[in-house]
Amino acid sequence: MEVNMNKTELQKTANEVRKGIVTAVHSAKAGHPGGSLSAADIFTYLYFEEMNIDPKDPKKADRDRFVLSKGHTAPGLYSALAQRGYFPVEDLKTLRHLGSYLQGHPDMKHIPGVDMSSGSLGQGISAAVGMALSAKLSNESYRVYTLLGDGEIQEGQVWEASMFAGHRKLDNLVVMVDNNGLQIDGKIDDVCSPYPIGDKFKAFNFHVIENVDAHDFDAIKAAFDEARQTKGQPTAIIFKSTKGKGVSFMENQAGWHGKAPNDEEYATAMADLEKVGEALCQK
């Protein structure tokens, strides 16, 4: 099911995804808005342009797979899935509520469209590598995408998985790093610097596309197109992003990594996003 959107339509959709994130986290009174908002455009592009998927048949065998290795940004994934039609947007308000299928971290057993349960950092990438290997073993053509946080790559397992993916030349695998520069305890280069990120993936025999603006759909498209053209090695896309993107008071604030807005903050956030939405409608 291909959806071909122009840039403005993608921006509008991403803005709706952001509203869903803020609404879900506000309703849950907990969750991770910062890294969900920084990756909102990536989620949007993946589910509306890049991946071969069908919301009416979430488990179709030849679908492309996505593993949210930075599983705490589930609100971003859920909001994109809801916008894409996997489940009602209204359900986002049940995020993290007792009895809701929208668990705090992605749960493949209960959420339509979620290809792998994740949340314990460093583990999702290994599962994605396993899926890419699986496709190679049985000569299937689906592609596998996984999104990691820039703090997450401090986990050693990420590099075990990368070594294996490079060694096995898994060119059906795209590893994305959401480089928003912040983790819970502060700036990633103050806490325990993972820089240079691109060079590390290069050293593990990846084709690396660096400094991709995570909020520019032309740049996002170019990166994914380049990944698709790349043969004989996996691709790593290092996205430069803004944590909390789209909500003025959350932008570039480590404090908004894992905190829910109160009612007043929620109103401000939604007003910010409404304004963006209105401006996009003028286009």
Binding site: S126, M163, F164
Partner: protein, 311 residues
């Protein structure tokens, strides 16, 4: 009497994988640089394209297995018990157990019978670790026949399974035409009315021998082989406790969290019974020949006999 045939269950594992590989095209085997020791090398020889060496990176190996299972393969991941259940515990819990993926963990070199490598490689905690994961099936086969049957049963079961194999060649005790492996079902190997000895793994053969020694002293011991520690055959355990009163558990594993604990969990709720747990007594192992270690730690027939007699 003819010499009893002895085979290490890791060998049985490797052989069973080859057999199953012919039957199940989607069966794949993963190893972490230990194919010669875990015996997955036997499978590698038969099906090189379906044997994936992940290098010395067990956590990643378990994650890769999760991805393979999520896309329809039946992956067996192999390493020493110490690394499969110990190092990769959280990966097994979160990437395999929580999503209930169809991953089989073939852990070899369990317990002190690893021998000369010593304490760092002698895992006496794996049953305890794996037993706590919801939905995980835990199997510790007693011999070659049972180990091979367990591999097949693990494949036929949809969901995660932990299989525990040993390095040491142990006597084949189940070589009989009517042998049948039923997941979750214990096997009464000897009837008796004075005490029930519930054993698992290589301790089963030793317990049978101990029962013969006890018989000479007029103690009539019932011997039960529990190959599936989870789910435990509670019905059989309760019935045996009712029948003989005293219960003894024997395992090549810590007395904390293993078969003994599983039996106590069951009996304390259903039929409070005095239980003697024979196993590794909250201590690390050490280097030495496997047979000598089993003797030193009281897990051979002689040790079991002495403890049961004094119980």
């Amino acid at each position: 009497m003819s010499e009893v045939k002895k085979i290490a269950t890791r060998e049985s594992y490797g052989n069973a994988l080859v057999e199953m590989g012919a039957k199940y095209e989607n069966l794949v085997v993963l190893d972490a640089d230990l194919a010669a020791a875990t015996k997955t090398g036997i499978f590698k020889k038969a099906y090189p394209e379906r044997h994936i060496d992940c290098g010395i990176a067990e956590c990643n190996m378990v994650g890769i297995a999760a991805g393979l299972a999520a896309t329809g393969k039946i992956p067996f991941v192999s390493s020493f018990a110490m690394f499969a259940a110990g190092r990769a515990f959280e990966q097994v819990r979160n990437s395999v157990g929580y999503p209930k993926l169809n991953v089989k963990i073939g852990a070899t070199h369990a317990g002190i019978s690893v021998g000369e490598d010593g304490a760092t490689h002698q895992c006496n905690e794996d049953i305890a670790l794996m037993r706590t994961i919801p939905g995980m099936v835990v199997i510790n086969p007693a011999d070659d026949v049972e180990a091979k049957a367990a591999v097949q049963a693990a494949i036929e079961h949809d969901g995660p399974v932990y299989l525990r194999f040993g390095r040491l060649a142990t006597p084949v005790i189940n070589d009989r035409p009517d042998y049948k492996f039923e997941l979750g079902k214990g096997v009464v190997l000897r009837e008796g009315k004075d005490v029930t000895i519930i054993a698992t793994g290589l301790c089963v053969a030793q317990s049978l021998e101990a029962a013969e020694m006890l018989a000479k002293d007029g103690i009539d011991a019932k011997v039960i082989n529990i190959h599936t520690i989870k789910p435990l055959d509670e019905e059989l355990v309760i019935a045996a406790a009712k029948e003989t009163g005293k219960v003894v558990t024997v395992e090549e594993h810590s007395v904390i969290g293993g078969l003994g604990s599983a039996v106590c969990d069951c009996l304390s709720e259903n039929l409070p019974t005095k239980v003697l747990k024979i196993g590794i007594n909250d201590t690390f192992g050490e280097s030495g020949p496997a047979v000598a270690l089993i003797h030193k730690y009281g897990l051979d027939a002689e040790g079991i006999y002495a403890k049961v007699k004094a119980f």
